[in-house]
Subunit: 417 residues, 2 copies
């Protein structure tokens, strides 16, 4: 089954909001072997929607729209869909029932001006268990369209609970099993990997499946799409990819094989090895901690983080010496490792990694420009700090790259346990 | 000038990466009065690119592609564009010069297998100052296309430095001035605002400009697009919007009029009032601190945050009583305000806000299900804690909503100073 998503909203095209539904749907479809073939992001305008609907209805089996079903006058999706499919909007008992139930449940009175009881003729209303506006569903032979609200929690719930059930018969049981095996590497750019370190890697892996390469701020993810007729053959193929990778000249650069993020791998390894981890963060401003706590179950090993943005906090909570700050500066390997020692004690952690750098746009100097970062760590056996000079980026990206460097340091240290 | 962006990459449609270029470009175009009319997100496939290129080349004045210019075999954009425009790929002295310069600068040797010196006939290479792969530019009468790398720092730099200069003549000097005035509200959903609190608001504001409404986890942003023939008329109109809003029945729900985020408003107001702020975070895991430190200049007032994920850290660093944790639990208003008192001292801050809640998916109980959060604050004059029950969402969204609640509490407290 091929899906196209049309994401509707002026706010998505003027930089006010970043859509998150497409990213979620992409991951969901990938897990469930559904082909997500295109995402159209368009304003609340008839011409734009009609142009995208024409294409999507022609190319996809299931078209999803997101957004524009709410109660305000700029929510035009229902009217536009009614016009596109030439089906007038009519009262619908089931839609009225959905709306009344939702309002009853939240002890508010339904206001008929909302028109949640109306749907285009021939469309089915979709229950919205976590919001108010119902969705819309329509089937024409093998083609389907579902209009869902843009609010992420409503979009997700209605897609998984309502749309999938209605589309079920169109999702063919496949006789091939597929998997995307991802070889995650660090410390070498794409051109170095494929031209120097492992020049035959791409072609060799291509014998096992379709190869792809995706650079990120700290390394390269190499994907191999494998498929087989049954699960045991699939598992044999996956094992071949793993063995090839682990015996290739690239092996020193591989930090994980699998789809997990670095924060997930850190939590998993720390749990396996029973290591209590923590951070002291200056330039990353809490981002390292936030990334680790995005992982469900992180509380088993994550003690916390001291976000020591101001030097007073470095001194008072982390016990960094005033003289170290004065002599070497807050952005220095010396401060980074004193922060690590102090944080390990304050957080009662086994392993702590620290960041202190210049995220910009201000605050840089000749010797410590934007992109300079001290990274420190402290464990039972060892304590050290490094100073790195990374290419300057804008502030948010800089924080992301800094946090990536700190998480890499943490994973390296965990692997040494 | 109308722009459409075609974002190319399998990784964007299987949930591995969330694109950020479209969001950035949308904001940039909005600031510069350029119409960003559609974003196509498609896989690295000829059929998909041709379908999007056909539409975009037909509807837009400037088509941008992002991604697929790198050195690996799944980078197909150059070949596909060459085929679409029926222009064979040829050697180009300028492209070779760009590539050699970039490699010389980074003290690496250029490998001719990269083919960075080749462009489709009639295309111009675009200098990539922050990466290696050059971009491509082509003009056909009033239509233009630019192919840029997907790496965000390269995309941004090349768009602003190279593409805009080449497209300059096509960006008409406008004789109308435009502005999007945003009325940011909280504590009431859309239907309540427009049906009960201020039923004439939409129509009244529509007399000043085009109105839009955008719900978010904690409130509603109401936008008014105003335009005028000169800047002083524009400013008069903006003033009218502001005065109308501030005198409307909605006034109690407005926390800001302007495009700034809540974290930007917090930093700005804290600087104006000279208040040193900080957090103690359990369930938000550093996200409050990370959001505040996304704001350039936050170091003027932001002391730091104690991410006290484990109860030992709540006791040892924040001085929360063991008996409080035992009697009321970590997720309680009592723990929240003890955390606030301890953190204000530890961080030498004037005002601290704290979070302790259940982000899920595990850890919920009958009385404290996922979505329960204790929020506390401590200032010179006052210290308190509340317990809230918010609708359960998935973990990352839950953290976002929790952090939003904490930032609202912080802004409320700053406004009371």
């Amino acid at each position: 089954m091929k899906i196209q998503l049309i994401t509707i909203g002026n706010e998505l095209l003027n930089g006010k909001v970043q859509d998150r539904n497409a990213y979620w749907l992409a991951g969901f479809c990938h897990e469930h072997h559904i082909d997500f073939t295109k995402n159209h992001i368009i304003p609340d305008e008839k011409e734009a929607l009609f142009s995208s609907l024409n294409q999507a209805w022609n190319e996809a089996d299931l078209v999803i729209t997101s957004g524009g079903l709410g109660p305000t006058k700029d929510d035009l999706t229902k009217d536009m869909i009614s016009e596109f499919f030439k089906r007038p909007i009519i009262e619908c008992d089931k839609a009225m029932h959905c709306a009344l139930e939702n309002y009853k449940k939240s002890k508010r009175e339904y206001d008929p001006r909302l028109e949640y009881s109306k749907v285009p003729e021939g469309f089915e209303p979709l229950l919205n268990r976590v919001g108010y506006a119902p969705g819309l569903f329509f089937r024409d032979n093998s083609k389907m369209i579902a209009a869902l609200p843009g609010v992420p929690s409503e979009f997700k719930t209605m897609f998984t609970e309502e749309v999938l059930a209605l589309a079920k018969n169109n999702i063919k049981e496949t006789s091939t099993y597929r998997k995307h095996v991802i070889i995650k590497t660090w410390k070498a750019p794409e051109s170095l990997i494929f031209n120097s370190i492992a020049p035959t890697l791409w072609d060799d892996l291509s014998e096992l499946g379709e190869v792809s390469s995706l650079p990120n701020p700290m390394g390269v993810d190499i994907g191999v799409k494998i498929q087989a007729d049954d699960l045991s053959q699939l598992s044999v193929k996956e094992q071949k990819v793993r063995e090839y990778a682990q015996n290739s000249p690239l092996k020193e650069n591989i930090w994980h094989i699998g789809k997990e993020t670095i924060e997930q791998v850190i939590v998993q390894r720390a749990i396996e090895k029973n290591i209590r981890i923590g951070f002291a963060e200056s330039c990353t401003g809490g981002l390292c901690a936030s990334r680790i706590t995005d992982v469900a179950g992180s509380s088993a090993v994550f003690m916390g983080s001291v976000v020591a943005y101001h030097n007073e906090v470095k001194e008072n909570v982390l016990n960094v010496n005033k003289s170290t700050l004065e002599k070497y500066g807050a952005v220095s390997s010396e401060t980074a490792w004193e922060m690590a020692q102090g944080a390990r004690k304050a957080l009662s952690a086994d392993l702590v990694v620290t960041t202190t750098g210049v995220a910009g746009p201000g605050g840089g100097s000749k010797h410590k420009p934007v992109g300079t970062i001290g990274v420190g760590y402290s464990s039972e056996r060892d304590c050290a700090g490094d100073l790195h000079h990374l290419p300057a980026k804008d502030r948010e990206e800089m924080k992301l790259v800094f946090s990536q460097l700190a998480l890499m340091k943490m994973l390296e240290q965990i692997e040494l346990y």
